[in-house]
């Protein structure tokens, strides 16, 4: 992504369509020339080297690539980079401030809401969107909001607890382990 040097591929066999995009990623304006077919997930990972956004499946099911697009959670493997032009993207790297972790990050660690960590960034961003909209969700609300994110390790119970922990922290309550991290509906 350096402007000093960008090797161009030998344009044999027809010119490659290129578009300039300007995306505000985690508060910083990023400008790049991309092929329209470049997926937002790859724009973030390969392009901007923000590798916290993971890609898990090809069919828009797993949610590991979840980012916030203008504040709403989307699956960045099913959005084109060119579609993010002029919009704001938040990735896991944008959750913590310079000084401190986001309560969701604390919650996931405190409640053992992750194991291999691969689905975690997507989970936390989907959860952030929920808490932005509903600061005091029920367990059912949390499970519903995360129903587009797959986790293979934890069995979700601790993920739900982690989000409820964060909700309490964000409301200035002292978060204690949500005891009823139990069953859905």
């Amino acid at each position: 992504m350096s402007s000093l040097f960008q090797e161009q591929r030998d344009p044999v066999g027809g010119a490659v369509p290129i578009r300039r995009v300007s995306v505000t990623v985690n508060g910083e304006r990023r400008v790049a020339d991309v092929e329209p077919r470049l997926l937002l997930a790859h724009f973030l990972r390969q392009g901007l080297r923000l590798t916290g956004t993971h890609t898990g499946c090809d069919t828009t099911n797993c949610g590991a690539c979840t980012v916030l697009l203008d504040g709403k959670p989307v699956k960045s493997c099913t959005v084109l980079a060119v579609q993010a032009d002029g919009r704001a993207v938040t990735t896991v790297e944008g959750l913590a401030s310079a000084s401190e972790l986001h309560p969701l990050q604390e919650g996931f660690k405190d409640e053992h809401g992750l194991q291999c960590g691969f689905c975690t960034p997507g989970m936390m961003l989907a959860a952030k969107a929920l808490l932005d909209e509903n600061p005091n969700p029920s367990e059912e609300d949390v499970r519903w909001a995360l129903s587009g994110n797959l986790c293979r390790c934890t069995g979700y119970q601790n993920i739900v607890k982690s989000v409820l922990w964060a909700a309490q922290k964000l409301q200035g309550l002292s978060p204690q382990a949500a005891e009823n991290g139990g069953s859905a509906t």
Binding site: R9, D10, P11, V12, G13, R37, L38, R45, Q46, L50, T51, G52, T53, H54, T55, G56, C57, D58, T59, N61, C62, T91, V92, E93, L95, A96, L101, Q105, F108, K109, D110, H112, L114, Q115, C116, G117, F118, C119, P121, M124, V142, R143, W144, L146, S147, G148, N149, L150, R152, C153, T154, G155, Y156, Q157, N158, I159, G182, S183, A184, T185
Partner: protein, 794 residues
């Protein structure tokens, strides 16, 4: 001078928060796909659309013409390097890139290496392969049919599709037991093909440096040292010139144990191009070509006495291994540890026969969150136990209890020859029944029935062998199943620990440090744990089969004790007393006669570098190789209650109770995390998760639209309980636990649904117990098979 509080320093039993989380919650993990090397190229694989076909021609010319394409690999080119085929972990051969035939849908046919993965995929699309379709075989029955096409015609002396016929146990004795039986209970079922399906697929970055002739491979492997050995053998490279690095892994569950063609191709591509080559597998590739699990058919019989005593067990299993016999399992037994079945019951005699067949399906049976067919063994056991209880008209809990191995019978030898070390089976069952409110639920069930509602309760109790080896019986390609740890205590008392295991989410970086803290009193936070780099880690067999704590964990304890022994000498020197007069308490040596005269382990560490006695070798570090005397045998009792909607066949989980006895728990928080994860896979397998095939051999379940994993929404909540029976032969009394719930859980869910349907007289519904199967069972009062091919209207 009071001793250290072990919990405070993050020792044994502390629910210590995980150190690895600090990077994961910030998105700063380092997974294989996160690694970028200078000049790196990208590889994509072209896969066979057909399950069985002869390759007539492969035309790659159009792919070569695409700007940005650097290399197109085909089987022909692999063959010139003698790499078209590779050995499997089960002493068979597997095609790396197909030359003669394709033998399953999704088999690797060609690779394209290009500047970026998009162009590499363009290249794959430009390759034209001409196939001559052949009939596809999708189950063992078709495989042994008289007119069945021979799948492995590449092998001389392979005249049919049978891989092995194997047996274990006492046939005559078992026949006698059945002759004397009052009741014989028979059950036939299929444990469907499944896939571990970690969210992160397989990946590798091969980096061959011509100048140093060193090959470095960053890859998603649960067993880096095994891979190094395999690469040395397959690619015929000197082992010391191979470095395997396994960075963070996005879940493994057994999927990332074997060697896959993609790894080999990326390595050859890097050697040919002298540039780093990255291969990131897509989800479909992962699901249709890498290590599947299960796919075993059971015919099981129990010889029973009227009073409920089990007199004998007779089992036959038919395993569908796919196109190549490449099970990733280290036992000398053809069907893995299938004969660990019924281990928790005191059964006089048993006999097991097993047949393995080739089919036109993906190869590579892996121990998906289990120890080599133990999941099937325990599922068969607990389904047969429930059917038998029903046949006898006995309460399923009482029936189990009366057949358990009693606490006073340990050590206990099973009829198949395994030696059990310890357990309190009846106690675990009682804790579970109490927690679920067994008697009360039976009442609710009757009341509900009166109102046309179907409630059911399912129990699964089992002990499973975890932590291969011992090395007498377990090896991979001849390499014995031990493990290792290396500990360096720096002069300030901080430490670096390395093991031959490889975490994939189990939290080794957290728990290994807790074992060191327990043995040496060095606070866990002062211990760095490193794994996964074969240039730095001591040799180990990797992490799978719940073997890390039983084997590598034991090695950590043993190396810590070696360090403590040397520290004792240093302490004696510092305290100016003889070694015999030095006593140890957590973190501190003191003089027996004067307890307040002592030195901390940290002071000993400093002395090891600054003030050692004459003639003592400086430094405070060591390593230990641990060859376990036996497997560990955790016990578990899982109880599930469900309600079935008789009109739609949909069933909901009401309650799940888990009682696990995995011996001493190093980090209870992490142990419970493992159990909840396992229970969820059990729920998934019983409810929705399976891979099947149609008559043409098309894989149904090749992507996350069809291969369903449960979400937070339907996944039930869990109530966990514990019983602790320390393992007598493990240094800290721990047993394996990572898989217990995934192994023992499925039967609990299925038994619950079958219990709800008991009045229909239906004996079995194959997993996953889908609504349509439940409906069919209720509607027509017959067993429902889920065996492939998928039923159609024709």
């Amino acid at each position: 001078m009071t001793a250290l509080d072990e919990i405070k320093i993050g020792g044994l039993g502390a629910s210590r928060k995980r150190v690895e989380d600090n990077r994961f919650i910030r998105g700063k993990g380092n997974y294989t796909d996160d690694i970028v090397l200078p000049g790196m190229l990208h590889m994509e694989i072209l896969r066979s659309p057909l399950a069985h076909a002869r390759i007539k021609s492969i035309d790659t010319s159009k792919a070569w013409d695409i700007p940005g394409v650097h290399l197109v690999l085909t089987g022909e080119m692999m063959a010139t390097r003698n790499l078209a085929w590779m050995p499997t972990l089960s002493y068979d051969t597997q095609a790396v890139l197909a030359t003669d035939k394709v033998r399953f849908q999704g088999q690797e046919v060609a690779c394209v290496i290009a500047d970026d993965p998009y162009v590499a995929r363009d290249g794959c699309e430009a390759i034209h392969v001409e196939y001559e379709p052949l009939p596809a075989i999708v189950n063992p029955t078709q495989a042994v049919a008289p007119d069945a096409p021979i799948i492995r015609d590449d092998k001389t002396n392979q005249a049919d599709n049978v891989i092995y016929d194997w047996e274990v146990g006492d046939k005559e004795g078992t026949d006698r037991a059945f002759a004397e039986a009052d009741v014989i209970s028979k059950l036939q079922l299929h444990y469907p093909r499944s896939h571990p399906s970690p969210i992160e697929c397989c990946a590798s970055i091969a980096d061959f440096n011509r100048a140093t002739s060193k090959l470095t491979v960053y890859m998603t492997t649960q067993a880096p040292h095994i891979i190094r050995a395999a690469v040395a053998m397959v690619a015929e490279l000197p082992e010391h010139m191979i470095r395997i690095v396994s960075p963070d892994i996005g879940g493994g569950f057994g999927n990332k144990v074997p060697v896959y063609p993609g790894y080999v191709c990326s390595i050859l591509a890097s050697i040919l191009l002298e540039r780093p080559v990255k291969w990131i597998e897509d989800k479909t590739g992962n699901l249709i070509s890498t290590g599947f699990a299960r796919d075993v058919y059971l015919t099981g019989e129990l010889a029973l006495r009227k009073d409920g005593k089990v007199l004998g067990v007779r089992m036959h299993t038919d395993a569908d291994h796919g196109a190549f016999f490449s099970d990733a399992q280290p036992s000398k037994f053809k069907i893995g540890l299938m004969h660990s079945t019924f281990a928790c019951y005191d059964i006089p005699v048993a006999h097991l026969t097993a047949r393995g067949t080739y089919t036109n399906k993906a190869p590579g049976g892996v121990a998906y969150r289990c120890s080599f067919r133990v999941t099937e063994a325990m599922f068969f056991q607990e389904r047969m136990m429930q059917a038998a209880a029903n046949d006898l008209g006995m309460d399923q809990a009482a029936f189990r209890r009366m057949n358990f191995v009693r606490d006073d019978q340990f050590p206990h030898r099973t009829p198949f020859g395994f030696l059990l070390d310890s357990g309190q089976y009846a106690k675990c069952l009682d804790v579970g029944l109490e927690a679920v409110g067994y008697q009360d639920f039976q009442r609710q069930k009757e009341e509900a029935k009166a109102r046309g509602r179907l409630l059911g309760i399912g129990i699964s109790t089992m002990t499973e062998p975890l932590g291969a080896g011992n090395s007498r019986e377990y090896d991979i390609l001849g390499i014995k199943m031990f493990d290792s740890a290396e500990l360096r205590v720096h002069m300030t008392g901080k430490a670096l620990l390395r093991t031959g295991a490889k975490t994939q989410g189990q939290g080794h970086e957290t728990t290994w440090a807790q074992i060191v803290a327990h043995e040496l009193g060095i606070p866990a936070e002062d211990v760095t744990v490193e794994e996964g780099d074969t240039d730095t880690a001591p040799f180990g067999m990797g992490t799978y089969a719940s073997r890390s704590t039983p084997v590598a964990g034991a090695a950590v304890a043993m190396v810590s004790r070696k360090i403590r022994a040397k520290a004792r000498k240093l302490a004696a020197h510092l305290l100016e007393v003889s070694e015999e007069d030095v006593e140890w308490e957590l973190g501190r040596f003191y003089v027996r006669s004067a307890p307040d005269r002592g030195v901390s382990i940290q002071e000993c560490a400093m002395a090891a570098y600054s003030n050692m006695p004459d003639g003592m070798e400086p430094g405070l570090e060591g390593n230990a190789y641990y060859d376990p005397p036996n497997l560990t045998w955790p016990f578990a009792c899982y109880i599930v209650t469900v309600e079935v909607d008789p009109e739609t066949g949909v069933w909901d989980v009401l309650n799940v109770v888990a009682v696990d006895d995995c011996g001493v728990r190093i980090n209870p928080m992490i142990v419970e995390g493992q159990i909840m994860g396992g229970l969820t896979e059990a729920y998934a397998m019983s409810n929705m998760q399976f891979i099947t095939f149609d008559a043409e051999g098309n894989c149904v379940g090749s992507n996350y639209m069809d291969y369903l994993l449960p979400t937070a929404w339907e996944t039930p909540g869990y109530e966990l309980h514990e019983v602790v029976t320390p393992c007598p032969h493990h240094p800290i009394g721990a047993k394996g636990v990572g898989e217990c719930a995934a192994v023992g859980g499925p039967a609990a869910f299925v038994n619950a649904v079958m219990d709800a349907l008991r009045d229909t007289g239906v004996r079995n519904i194959d997993m996953p117990v889908l609504p349509d199967r439940v409906w069919e069972a209720i509607q027509f009062g017959r067993d429902v098979s889920g065996a492939p091919p998928v039923k159609t209207d024709e």
